[in-house]
Symmetry: C3
Subunit: 677 residues, 3 copies
């Protein structure tokens, strides 16, 4: 239902910020830009329910009718990410509390605690009222619940809910005490009531406590979502429901576990780097979203969008928000260069997104995000940004035929809980970061031209020739078995330092690192050597390592390259182990980008993995989608030089036939319907 | 009344910190240094009212008599900046609260909330008691209320007062909702009681909310001042009343709006730079104070000190506090080089200060500021500092004749609210700073040798040939008209980036930047290009720009210089527009200091502005004061080399006649009564 | 009782973290490593008293019997550093509160307020129960109370106790007001109830208030210790009692004043530098501990361990905790190089430690410190770390004969209160640090090869030829007399800037710096010149100075070297003054390390101080212990090159006879029983 054969194009539309006379111009401009889907109502709670139980739907009726009349479909949002002032005034206990015990106030967005009963009741009420009124409105393509679940709280409601969750997870206190190793520092709990959320405390907190709180909170937010979804589904079972995921290390959500709850994985993506890093991040996020989409519910989705690999249809997902014209960095907004909006959008489509959506349609005069970029900027439609928006609409229109799977035979395992656990205090280094480790591996694969799927531990691995584990710190016995079976059965594995070290409760496995993976990798490490910020180790093959090193001994593995000089001189740095019918590589340090790329290429070659487009120069991204006999090759030139790539087919944006070579101007894009056979 | 024909010299005198036997030595040393005015009682509340309603004035009687006997006049302070411990113990609700909700404790100074009724009552009581007893004491030159109003608070008293203020400002909630654009993020208020001060919240705060809170708080502090002033005036209408303004970006006070409430603008100035930056800051502060003084009340002032320009008497102001021997930087106190105290003092006198006052007279043995410099340091009068204090007293004595206006035909617009608004979150860059932008323009003018008055939007501009708008972000329609009329009528304007972009509620003006000034400037910008911290853009004329750039299109303006290289290659960077009978320049980036100076000189030259003293080398500050037919030229050599400046007249410090050239030793100063005609 | 003729070897043993079947392996491995002392029960409160008043001692009975059976002695700990969850749940008022008023929660260790009556009662109860059951257990070598006293609190219990302490210290409010100079900023107290702990306040806090709070809190923690000690002593007067001191600028404890309360000074040492700085810190900590040990109670100690100098037995102390294999830095754990654990351990033994103890015996799988190094690491006994632990046990066994005093004729004065006072706000520089100043002097002495004792003001100085005062900021009249008498009687003194400046209440002494020491040093300074972070001053002798400079005038002293260039060009930087029969040097800046070493060597030479081992190269630490006719020379090669040192005797680790030269391999150690005569 989300899609109707076209790629989605549009974004967040907030008519409540504008007088009604602007709405007609909006629809006209949307049509000019070929916008076909807009999200309405995200932050409109105070306009929809100006007092408890009193609804003012007439303006929304008018907007939906207007859009429908213009042929523009609507993802109708529930506005629960920003309760109105009257709600906070009536329910101060539903305002969030920090770990220090500071109760936050109204005056921004997300000023609620997702565990507060009053908030949950109010959220259900407004969602239900919207469902009652609009579930059968012809403009609706689906529902978008809430916005970017990602807050946290330490109030008493949260503490109560946490205790309830812990009872369900651990059953009895003995199990909890054992899982959290409360024998350390005299933390043995004898009553569930003694457990609070991990509030500010005197010194280092308990890692098991921290990890379970993260898991609990992800589940709590998920249940807040699910109860809205159930209401919406009940009103019209044919309309799909989703929520837009937001990315970032601070987000307390395990998206992979959430994906089963949504009918379409929707992702907001705002890169943080301004250079090629923005494109590297874009590629990773596309692969992450596609990986999550494999777990998405199938209700209400296009038949063509069911999960699967090989010749099965590609999992469906959608880039729900991105910034038309800015890259937000810590200190300032970087204006995107001409053409970059298109290139970022097509990079997502290449990776399976059903289109490209933006925040937001029209830049407001006020509010905290008044300078966030928009498809219609403050300057109005007579602007480069809007002209590029029109071009993008045309380009997406020409790519409507693209569908199917994304070519990839490398799998990269990403695990939210490992990410959380490596943020705990008391680790050997503060520089450990599962997600950055995953990103480093993904950058290596991306620059080397390999297609890559993101998986979570336990996902089926048929068809993948190489599995990469980037600091997969938490490795429970099931995951260890999953890895063992894959390699033993002939798979190739590349694991980096700290993988396998801890169990699901973040308890260190004894007997030598990397705990659960010693056998598969054929190595044993006695000691870690975390490196200082600027410190490097030298490798015998000329490369360097950062962040980490280890005192590693082979236990069956061959040495691929050794440390050179220093305390570890001559000891193994990278190893390779034949195990069963497979091969397992181990990186005990983080190689520099060049060395990492080379090692990944060696591992890929040994595994029989080929680049998507042999001969594509570095900086030209090549992604292939395939559906049955058909295939499409995306070529995105991220460099500021003209590039040539050998390829054949029909270039869809220009309708030109390519016989031998595609010529890409600086920053240019080509999408080829390839000749089959 | 503040002045008696002599320039004021002295400082804060705190006899309550010393046994009575020291007081006689104090008066003797003051006479030795020609001190003629001291501020008494600033932090003496706990000594004057040791218990509620019980007063111990005998020691103050004795001190005032002693000073009066020594011919030293007194600015008697109300001590309300530091309530005694008994007050805080009795009224914990009057202690200030942070945005996080933390209630601060007693144990420092300024431990009160200016909106707390108990505090206001106690402040009126002690001020009234002082007025009753001393309003007719012959030692009194005037009253100094409080000290450096500059705290803030988020308690319930403040929230109540804020709501009351909002009702008065906006009238109804529809207007407030419109002004604050509460349609963004569902912040529509339906009851005044829903509005709190901008407390800590989940994410970015509302810019309108933040801006109004700043305005409200400035007004609240002003009313706290005014109610004391009214009591003091009632007791003796002939005595002038003021309070000492403190400068700094953190100060929540709009001094220009306050100035109408004081009988004399009094300013505390502590530069933060240790190099020539200290002198640049000193010059700017002198010009700011003089600008505010134009708005000061006339009650009780010298007839010769009424506001005005041209041949009218110069507005009166006084440097009320400065540090004898230190520049306070973030990490340490920098000891002033010999002669620098004199040079800083005369730089203020040159800019219109009625003298030079210091904090404090004698360095205490304890208390938080025990190492703050003093005219009598820990080492005692046998010290360089005290010897320089004696020399300064003699110098000020010789300059008693100096009076009149300060020569300036450039006006620099500074606007507190624009400063506040550019501190909001969600702006395109965190590096935006109205005050630093004003300082950059002022530095350029200062180094190029142009006299400059600081104005606030709406001030009369007759007589000014060049008006500079440094990131005048908030430009309401009245201000836009003021600018338009000035240029249209023949004035020259130089505006920098972000001027005119928003209205008085910080709402962005639509249709292209710089909103309100597109017509006058003859340009239209579609997009901003905020620059990274170390990033520079190159200009075609060889200069560079920092902080900011824009996609600018001329709409009538000529290109003065263009961007060279990069994304903006060839686009206008600096423009000039003939508009009506005037000319309007626009700077879309912050030029490097050299380029900025050159551009300002070009604009000044085109406007017919001449330097104060043609031929004075860079680093030699030249300021001219004028009264009727008389004029005085101040020459301050801030370099460490001897300098020569062509000038004629009588040098007042040495009584030497200068025929052709003044020879200034390194760090030296000359003040010439110029030959008329 | 702590020692039985052998050097202590072992560490914290936490059997409660492991199933009982591991305990037997523990004892076997301990015996293999010659471990002879373990601390048991430190964090076992929740296991010993799982509910209020209900004790589960059976497991501890079993552990103590097992250890006793294995010949391993036990320092039995009271577990009061980590109350169980049930305690915090029952007594939330006993949880600590920050200066901001945030009440911290359970979930770490040290989650108590030492002034809370409920906590104190619970601590006495568990300590009493342990004393009742184990005071006569044959395994016990002594008691270790608590762990690393070092928390702070601002709750109401603390405020009440603070007021009580202030009454005892100051007697009446007039004295307190005078001591704190409350005349500054109107802080005059008229009722004790007005005084709180130094909570968060609006601006700078009162220095006298801050200083007394630090003193009070050190006394409060001490009394918490003493009441446990008294209970334990009462149960068995023959068993010694101590607590382990933790070092660090944040620790609110005056260890020198505490030492009289312990029967043996026990010190935990974790260096923070990874290079030679770790060894410099180790040497300083050994000298500090020995200095404190001079003040330790004599109850229960070996007769051979009474305090004293010259030929008297050396004061006894013990390195109670150190890290087997890691140096903890701000961002990561640095793995110790092979041999460094031995070298650090013997550096402590050389300085008088009765052995070397570690935290902890076996690395746990969980808890906040799961990656803290251990004698038995995660990898198990088949590891370099455990093998080095076995070697260390053997080495300590061979050194059992070593005893007696440590050769030193330089005294370095360290004063906790000066350290606290130089952390106050409002000082001329934020870079002032008494402890770092002491460390800089100690580094100079260490590299130059001089033995050094740490003293506190008032300690007897007989036998010391040179006394060093490193920024001894607080100098009361008694201390001034102590310094005067020492120099006047022929002693040599070297004092650095800021010494003598303030009195015991941190009130600045008037008339010129350095206040109390102007006469002895023969100098007077009028002004300070704090230097910026990267700023240096040049000295006429080619050296440089950092942090600080002064306008210094000789008043009897000779100039050793002057400032060169800049504002202070030609003025004295370092002076020397003959005073009575002695000599007093003054350093008005912090010399670079090389210059400092040279100045210290000049002063030492003039004072007749000789290096411990003439000819030992830099980086080879030489320490001599002496007992009657016997002497032992420790030589520790901290360099990565082989070194040769002229010496004679029997090398105890190898039992080899050395005739002329000891050859030390890189990182190697030798301990010679020297030929007498």
């Amino acid at each position: 239902m989300w899609t109707d054969g076209r790629l989605c194009y549009g974004g967040d539309y907030n008519p409540e910020q504008w007088p009604a006379q602007v709405w007609a111009e909006d629809v006209a401009l949307m049509r000019q830009a070929r916008v076909n889907l807009v999200t309405v109502g995200v932050f409109a709670w105070s306009r929809l329910e100006p007092a408890p139980g009193r609804y003012t739907f007439d303006w929304l009726d008018q907007v939906l009718d207007l859009l429908h009349g213009g042929g523009i479909r609507v993802a109708l949002a529930t506005p629960t990410a920003s309760p109105p002032p009257w709600f906070s005034a009536a329910h101060p206990d539903a305002l969030p509390v920090t770990a220090d015990g500071v109760r936050l106030h109204h005056g921004s967005r997300d000023t609620y605690c997702a565990a507060a009963p009053a908030y949950r009741a109010a959220a259900r009420r407004i969602a239900g009222a919207l469902a009652d009124r609009y579930a059968h409105h012809p403009a609706l393509a689906g529902w978008r619940v809430h916005n970017e679940y990602g807050t946290t709280c330490h109030c008493e409601h949260t503490a109560t809910a946490f205790r309830r969750w812990l009872v369900a997870r651990h059953g009895d206190l003995d199990s909890l005490n054992d899982a959290w190793v409360t024998s350390f520092w005299s933390q043995h709990y004898t009553d569930w009531a003694q457990i609070s959320t991990p509030r500010a405390t005197q010194y280092l907190a308990n890692p098991g406590h921290l990890l379970d709180f993260r898991r609990f909170w992800s589940d709590t937010l998920r249940s807040a979502y699910a109860e809205q979804r159930d209401l919406l589904r009940a009103a019209n079972p044919r309309l799909p429901v989703t929520t837009n995921f937001v990315l970032g290390d601070w987000v307390p959500v395990d998206h992979a576990r959430w994906a089963a709850e949504v009918d379409l994985v929707a992702v907001d993506h705002y890169p943080s780097a301004v250079d090629i890093g923005a494109e590297e991040q874009t590629a990773l996020v596309g692969d992450l979203a596609r990986g999550w989409a494999r777990h998405a519910a199938t209700r209400g989705r296009d038949p063509a969008a069911a999960a699967g690999r090989g010749d099965a249809p590609a999992p469906a997902w959608l880039l729900m928000e991105s910034a038309p014209n800015q890259i937000h960095t810590a200190g300032r907004m970087h204006t995107k260069e001409p053409g970059r909006m298109l290139r970022h959008s097509l990079a997502h489509v290449a990776r399976g997104s059903h289109g490209a959506m933006f925040f937001q349609w029209r830049a407001p005069t006020g509010g905290a995000e008044r300078f966030h970029s928009a498809l219609v900027p403050h300057a109005g439609p007579d602007s480069r940004v809007f002209r590029e928006a029109v071009e993008l609409g045309a380009a997406l229109h020409r790519l409507a035929e693209v569908r199917g799977t994304v070519e990839a035979s490398v799998a990269l395992a990403v695990d939210a809980a490992s990410g959380w656990a490596l943020r705990h205090p008391g680790l050997p280094s503060r520089r450990l970061d599962h997600h950055e480790e995953a990103a480093a591996a993904h950058r290596g694969l991306w620059h080397a031209g390999y297609g890559c799927d993101v998986v979570v531990p336990g996902d089926p691995l048929d068809g993948y020739r190489l599995l990469v584990l980037p600091a997969l710190y938490l490795t429970d016995d099931t995951t260890a078995g999953w890895i063992h079976d894959y390699v033993h059965g002939g798979g190739h594995l590349l694991a980096t330092y700290l993988s396998g070290v801890a169990d699901e409760h973040a308890r260190v496995r004894l007997g030598g690192y990397p705990g659960a993976l010693r056998d598969v990798l054929g190595v044993r490490a006695e000691e870690f050597h975390p490196l200082a910020d600027e410190e490097q180790v030298t490798l015998a093959d000329g490369g360097t390592g950062r962040i980490w090193a280890e005192t590693l001994r082979p236990a069956g593995a061959q040495v691929v390259t050794a440390y050179a000089g220093g305390l570890l001189d001559g000891r193994p740095a990278v190893t390779r182990h034949r195990y069963g019918a497979g091969t397992a590589w181990y990186l005990s340090t983080r190689p520099d980008e060049h060395t990492y790329r080379r090692l990944l290429a060696d591992a890929a070659r040994a595994a029989g993995v080929r680049p998507v487009c042999v001969g594509a120069p570095d900086g030209v991204e090549a992604v292939r989608r395939r559906a049955g006999q058909h295939s499409w090759l995306f070529l995105l030139n991220h460099t500021d030089r003209a590039q040539r790539v050998a390829a054949r087919g029909v270039e869809l944006l220009t309708a030109a036939t390519v016989d031998q070579v595609v010529a890409l101007p600086p920053g240019g894009v080509a999408v080829l319907r390839e000749h089959t056979g």
